[in-house]
Symmetry: C2
Subunit: 253 residues, 2 copies
DNA sequence: CGTGGGCTTGATAGTCCTCAAGTCGGGTGG
DNA sequence: CCACCCGACTTGAGGACTATCAAGCCCACG
């Protein structure tokens, strides 16, 4: 059972100079290259661009009528609070969307915070509803985005419910590596950005920071993978994949 | 960590005579009272009605181009398999839909089985895509359905990640009770149908059947709630709710 | 410099799993 | 009709995995 909640203090040190450029050039995530009507709806409901420092909340549980955020650069995470503890439910990477669930359902059951320095485009929450009438292509993308997120959450659930410490950590590493690799963001062949603190891994995997640390050591000792300086370095991919199990293989976009 | 996988053997004994009638009269779930264009698309892509005996698979992980199933009566459950173990991810109640995720994403990462005797209406999987162009009202309902499911899965994830045995069980009870109560299916004030075996509770909550049993005893001994004869009987609602924590309070449709 | 976080590591304890037996009930086949 | 079998359910004893607590280290920041 994870540690208690306390607002994190110090910000992670780095930004990510690289992905800023890369994102804007190569991908715009859900909103890329839409039909004419779809794009105009998008423009009509775009409110502003904003920046968030690490750990700043974008969405709070219980809010009504939240905005929708499209992440331009940086990572965010979505979490829930129960019994005085936090459970991270999903990470949101550049090109992805926060707040869709709340916009569709009318009430927000989770919170979202910036994990790193974050740049986003803010949209009116009504975008979600309106798109279904006025921009079917966009609506379909939004629907798939929610479906993909549900898929990821189910994957994480299965991992926490069925796997032990090392398997969970291997899953998390592989999952985040693949999500970045698919977007061409894994710079070196077996490395990627990995700006999670021990606490974030703990709250994602239902463990404590202390035990995350021990498990991390084990993975490094055995020459499988290591996290240093906010980067994940995979030394033995096939062994990591074997430990993580078939689940992480797919890891829907 | 839950028990190993083995195909269950014997079927649960009862059907549920009551909800059959009630469902058809009071609700048709996602598809009720649609606009003209929406309804006709629905009819065009309805394939058949079917029945499934308990434990029969509707959808298997890895299938491509699956059908969509609308549940008429009975319950189903959606699960994933990792490291030789099963994790139940969601239960599907009358009026709800199975296979939507697969239809939207093009590939299916989970499996679905009948929990009880089941009656469903089968639709062509293309319904999901087509509705976005031809039946926006329907598409919006489907989108919300996926969002609601994502919400439930996140809730369960938080419960497994943050709570101990008794809290997990209390959450499951309250969650399923509320989903039925909202539809007027909780016959007596604090009772409802509860056709889960120990194994299903275990695979839902990331525990073993043996420990489910011990925890169930504890809840009964303390006069909080009991499961007997496929029915959940809540004896002390407020205490159950307090144990379950705020999370189960909402439990989106 | 002092302070506060995050990281690290050890010792201890608790929850829950594992394994194994034994009970119960229904279904099947003689 | 009864014997048998099989699965679900129970319960106990032992052990594994992980949490908890505590202390020390390091770094960035004020």
């Amino acid at each position: 059972l994870p540690t208690d909640i306390k607002d994190q203090g110090k910000a992670p040190v780095t930004g990510n100079q690289f992905s800023d450029v890369r994102n804007e050039r190569y991908l715009q995530g859900v909103f890329r290259s839409l039909g004419a009507g779809d794009g105009s709806l998008l423009n009509a409901l775009a409110l502003s661009d904003s920046r968030f420092p690490p750990n700043r909340p974008l969405i709070q549980e219980g809010e009504i009528g939240t905005c929708i955020f499209r992440i331009v650069s940086g990572w965010a995470y979505q979490y829930r609070t129960t019994h005085g503890r936090r459970q991270i439910v999903d990470f949101l990477l550049p090109g992805e969307i926060a707040g869709l669930e709340g916009a569709l359902l009318g009430l927000t059951e989770h919170s979202v915070r910036a994990l790193t320095e974050l740049r986003v485009t803010v949209f009116d929450g009504r975008l979600a509803h309106n798109s279904f009438r006025a921009a079917p292509e966009l609506a379909l993308r939004l629907g798939r985005h929610i479906a993909a997120q549900a898929c990821r959450i189910g994957e994480l659930l299965a991992t926490i419910g069925c796997c032990d410490a090392i398997e969970r950590l291997a899953f998390l590493m592989l999952s985040l590596y693949r999500r970045q690799a698919r977007r061409g963001e894994a710079t070196s062949p077996l490395q990627c950005w990995f700006p999670l603190r021990r606490r974030h891994m703990a709250e994602t995997l239902g463990m404590t920071g202390a035990h995350i640390n021990r498990t991390l050591n084990q993975l490094r000792r055995e020459g499988i993978a290591a996290v240093e300086n906010e980067r994940l370095i995979i030394q033995d991919f096939s062994r990591l994949a074997r430990i993580a199990g078939g689940a992480a293989a797919a890891s829907v976009p």
